[in-house]
Symmetry: D4
Subunit: 145 residues, 8 copies
């Protein structure tokens, strides 16, 4: 059994690397995928298609270019891990969760205890809630056992 | 042509009533649906199934009971209007948007200009962005014209 | 909002009537549907198509005739309530749960506490677990509120 | 032609090994997949995510972690073999059968003659009923011939 | 419970009327639908779109016009009854059966015993095999009981 | 049998009225639906959401508002009639045809003989090609016979 | 580009080998798949699961075992070629065509001119009609060009 | 991450080669697919199946043979690039766009500024609009970064 795991959400801490490295160390047969995690590159994803005066349209174009990547990855993954941090709105992470739920794609949320309440709808459709990357790794180990 | 419109998201202002009343005044053939908008009733939706010591599980049960309602309404509606206000995380609204996107269900976002950037992924899959309930009403009028 | 609710599972107690009557008393806008609950009629559903010497084939024919009814009802309902009692194997009830899960059709399980463990997979995909019909009625009231 | 076969259900006898070994001996081009078959490991699948006082929630968490694995395997397999033994409720096996049926995924049931009647709905949607692992192997041989 | 039943297949005997009349007499809540059963009208369905010299294209145009009707009816029905008589090739009836099977639409075959063998694949995906219209009526009565 | 028919495409001749009136005169049980056929109103559909300097974004917003209406109508119709005239690019009509084809929604094309060649892919997925509204009416009569 | 082609239908002439050999000679990148084409082996496919007195049930069991193979192959192929010969009823071939049509799986029919009329519904949903294996080969060459 | 990209639309300029070559030079992990781009070969695709007197049917047969190829490629690609040039009607390109939209397959349009208005519906469902092949290449680079 081999897994394709998509790592969605927060881009300001090194949670992705922790999971990827620990899975590699454990010899797990997993291919990991991520959105573009460079914040400014992501915001500028659509600039090559022409500059925009209005911030709404610049965002719009970049968000759609990013969607080509993220939707393709979500649709082809076996499992998504969706991380909510303590900064920013992170509505895109919640959007990904809803998208996964509608496609019946299993996902694991990764977030601290203090945001349980606002994330209750997102967690209610998740297959697991982890507080630390190490727990995600343990779940992945179990699935591949 | 008759429309079923689901009003998702923020529950602390009277945007739903404004839309419903204006559409009624205009004689539009629309049935409106909403989640339970009483915050404490929504949080307590699962209590009848047994009390919980852990806040996570109380939230979990309530969120799932609410999901029975909201998913049924999203699946059966023709259009969703998803409102983001200036308070709270509102991850459930973004979750609904992702759910709609995956089902190819058209939705209109309703939010102020100052949250354009964090909502760019949500707006990128929307069919329209409105800043005021009156604009939503005009769009609905047009669709039914 | 009007609901179509399918009542699946155990046929040896009067849980269906309790739910239907209580919802009627509360004036809830619900249409209830059930499989054929007369055990011997259900077992004989296929007999009109010709007698069988082998019990396997008699069962096979009857089960398929019943499936015409139950699948049609599951596919068209908004919510299923699936009851597990203390007698019989009730694999058909668990089958219905799996069928609902794959179709993303929300269901509520109704069973006593002593069978939590063997039902854990069935409950894990349910939107709610109730122990008494009254709790199901309260959930339905909430959904229609 | 190569097949992916998922072996679902009873975990207390060596039916899986019998099928796998016989297919290997026959040189069949089949990849076999199974859920975690260590009963206590399966029950503890969610423990790494935090301990629970309530047995319901411990079961809930473990069942969901197991579901990540089993759903992924069911969705990607070509054929499922679902075994019902003479012990335990095995509602998860019937749940898997219902899930397969809804996805139009062909499955073969494997069980003794004495439980024909309670399994009639499960068998009615199966593509074959086998009583012994050797019969399953013969069917797989035929399919790959 | 109300049923939509589509009556597919053989058009040279009065089996449709027998079923419709008996169900009406029994007060069953069923809407029946049929393809155009006038053979020459059916063959000429596309003539209004322009005459054709080649019989292949005349047939092609008529078959497609008929398909608008039959596909719409199959997709919207709850149950199909598919009749195979003793004349003609009736490949369109078998085609309808395959179409139903792929859509998970339950169907009942209606044919004599002497064509069991060539119909084995069609019967294998059917929910029931009846030899006489009266049996179909009894099955429908049961489903609506 | 009742039909929902969506009339897509060219908006500069009175083909819609001809079909609707003739079907009404013939007493056919059909509900007809159309996009907004007032060209300038259609182009301005998104203006209420805020003015745009760039023609691309003005078009973009209006096209999306129109899509709410047209997609909803296509998804709910039984048959689409798609008209190609002798003016304008009419890529939206071809887009609708592709959308119908992917959803397995039957459609009839209505166009003159001189554009057979450029429409060959669109016609190849159509169920019928008509040159005059009267032919469409005859086909609808037949389907409802 | 590589193709998976499923060769369905008539098993009494060597049309399959002709196509496979010619494609091999032309160096086309195609994997071909077929049902079991040994008539008596196919009829006996279910015998290993236990003997049956009734021919209906023997046929039923064998047809279902064959369906495991044929459905898996149809679902995974890119193109089906469906051959109708001059003997037997061949309802299974028409069934496969209907199954392909519902899944939007492109198929090519292969049959003589004298059965155009009874096959009109099957041909109407086909992407091509060929009269000789050599024509099928040419079409495949073109597709891979 | 590896991408399958389908290049649909205009066949009279070398935009395909520009994109393919630039992606190759950049070492991007992409497999490109195209329809048959030889105009006369494409028009003659169905000739091998028999000559036709009527241009409509010649076109019909060829368009269907081409559809076997193009639909297979669209369904299996991750991204489509759809080019509209300054000549011909190019309704097939708009048809492909509609087909992609219904399947939720992301596509990028490639066309000059002077046809923004007639393409507004096609662009409204696109994930990006590029004016030059170099921009498409940059978007693909970003997606694979």
């Amino acid at each position: 059994m081999k897994l394709k795991v998509y790592l969605s959400g927060e881009i300001h801490s090194d949670w992705r690397n922790k999971i990827i490295q620990a899975c590699k160390d454990a010899g797990l047969n997993i291919d990991f995928y991520s959105p573009v995690t460079d914040h400014s590159a992501s915001d500028a994803a659509g600039d090559v298609l022409g500059e925009e005066d209005q911030s709404f349209w610049r965002d719009h174009k970049s968000a759609k270019v990013n969607a080509i990547k993220t939707r393709t990855l979500i649709k082809s993954c076996d499992i998504a891990v969706i991380r909510f941090g303590d900064k920013f709105k992170q509505w895109n992470a919640a959007f990904d969760a809803g998208y996964c739920a509608a496609l019946d794609k299993p996902y694991i949320t990764l977030h601290d205890e203090d945001i349980i309440h606002p994330l209750k709808e997102v967690d209610a459709s998740a297959k697991a809630w982890a507080q630390r990357p190490e727990q995600v790794v343990e779940v992945l180990k179990y699935i591949l056992s």
